[in-house]
């Protein structure tokens, strides 16, 4: 990590590591442009690439043009040989303990590295999922609110139909009421007129009866006693004849 910093900061100031976040200020040390932290440059997704766990890939890229693929390895081997042969590094008991501890560390990293990384990723995912859940809930709540609002608007449209129906109802009631009153009025008038007609009939009948009585009275008054005697005698003669006829019919 430190070697990377040294190498990268030698090339450009906009390196990674702990200097990265503070370099916005470095770019305007003369205050020539306005300070702005946005747009923030995107962060790298993964860490720096390393080979064999500790050697940054940049060293290999650095040495590739001059020495090819095996360059850094030759450099490493030469360095170790130099240190050992000149006894700058003495092999003693600590070397053995170094071999032991490093083998334990490498074994541990190789065996438990992926699972620990997965665990850390899981923690991060859970954190992200919680925030995402909040966001999703808010979004679903808002879409639900939009749907409810649309439904309310549809309901409001239907209100006009409701008012129409009510208006029709009221109109029908009024119409019915009007017709009833009309009917009643008609009946009343008919009754009055019937009364007048009955009165007229009565009058006519009275006049008729009166006239008949008068005619009868004048006829009966005009009958003379002579005429009366003659008619009675004729009636008796008729009756005798009838009696004779009936007696004759009975014996036959």
């Amino acid at each position: 990590m430190m070697s990377r910093l040294v190498i990268l900061s030698a090339n450009s100031l906009k390196g990674s590591g702990p200097f990265g976040a503070g370099l916005v200020h470095a770019s305007r040390s003369l205050h020539t442009s306005s300070q702005s932290r946005a747009p923030v440059p995107p962060l790298p997704e993964t860490g720096g690439k390393v080979r064999h766990g500790i050697f940054p890939e940049e060293i290999f890229q650095l040495l590739y043009p001059k020495t090819g693929v095996t360059g850094p390895y030759m450099l490493g081997t030469g360095l170790i040989t130099y240190l050992l042969s000149k006894e700058l590094y003495v092999i003693n008991n600590e070397t053995l303990s170094a071999i032991c501890i490093f083998s334990v560390i490498i074994y541990g990293v190789k065996k438990f590295g992926p699972s620990v990384a997965a665990f850390a990723d899981k923690l991060n995912e859970e954190k992200l999922a919680k925030a995402q859940e909040v966001k999703d809930l808010a979004m679903s709540g808002l879409t639900q609110a939009i749907e409810n609002e649309k439904k309310e608007q549809w309901r409001v449209e239907g209100r006009a139909m409701l008012f129409d129906a009510k208006r029709n109802n009221v109109a029908m009631l009024l119409e019915t009421n009007y017709r009833e009153r009309l009917h009643m009025v008609t009946n009343e008038i008919k009754r009055r007129l019937d009364y007048q007609i009955a009165l007229q009939h009565l009058n006519r009948r009275l006049e008729q009866e009166h006239m008949i009585n008068w005619v009868e009275k004048s006829v009966i008054g005009s009958i003379t006693p002579q005429q009366e005697k003659e008619s009675i005698a004729k009636c008796i003669a008729d009756l005798k004849m009838l009696a004779k006829n009936t007696q004759a019919k009975a014996t036959v």
Binding site: L96, I101, A120, K127
Partner: protein, 227 residues
Amino acid sequence: MTMNLFNQFLSPTFLGLPLIAIALMAPCLLYPSPAPWWQSNRWMTLQNWFIGSFIKQILSPINTKGHSWALLLATLMVFLITLNTLGLLPYTFTPTTQLSLNMAFAVPLWLATVIMGFRNSPTHALGHLLPEGTPTPLVPILIIIESISLLIRPLALGVRLTANLTAGHLLIQLVSSAAFSLLLSQTTAASLAVGLLLLLTILEIAVAMIQAYVFVLLLSLYLQENV
């Protein structure tokens, strides 16, 4: 050769300048500070998770008043565990093998708990000196014994850490020097010694972490008694 064994515990100096300060400050560089963005990388997540779960476990038996010690205990734990595990690397100096450092941690913190206990509730703190249900004739002797055990606590704390780590490092040195000297002449014995060394290394890693944890755990227990 016997002199060399203890050279590893000498406080490192370079041209007369003590390097112990660098040895104590350097482990902090391994732990990145929290980034200003919301979701951090794996190392930060693991660090946060570790400190969070450790503090949750350590502070659960302590009442709310003692929770102000959370930062101190967490820092102490991370510091001790880093120093201990880094000391297992070759050619490194472990500051926690120095009795002065461990006593400098143990005595003030223990004394702080005791003074807090005697200030807040002196009767309760004094009551710790007598366990419940002791028969009456034993009471005076038991009080003396309990006070001695109370006073020996910082010594025990410091010496425990020092002794464990020093012994471990010494053993590693011994076994590795035995293996090294036997390597050319009696290779089988040397290979046995190397096997022993491997097991010892694994043990030392475990001891390094456990001793740091025990130190902090005991401090939290003393805190629990007195808060």
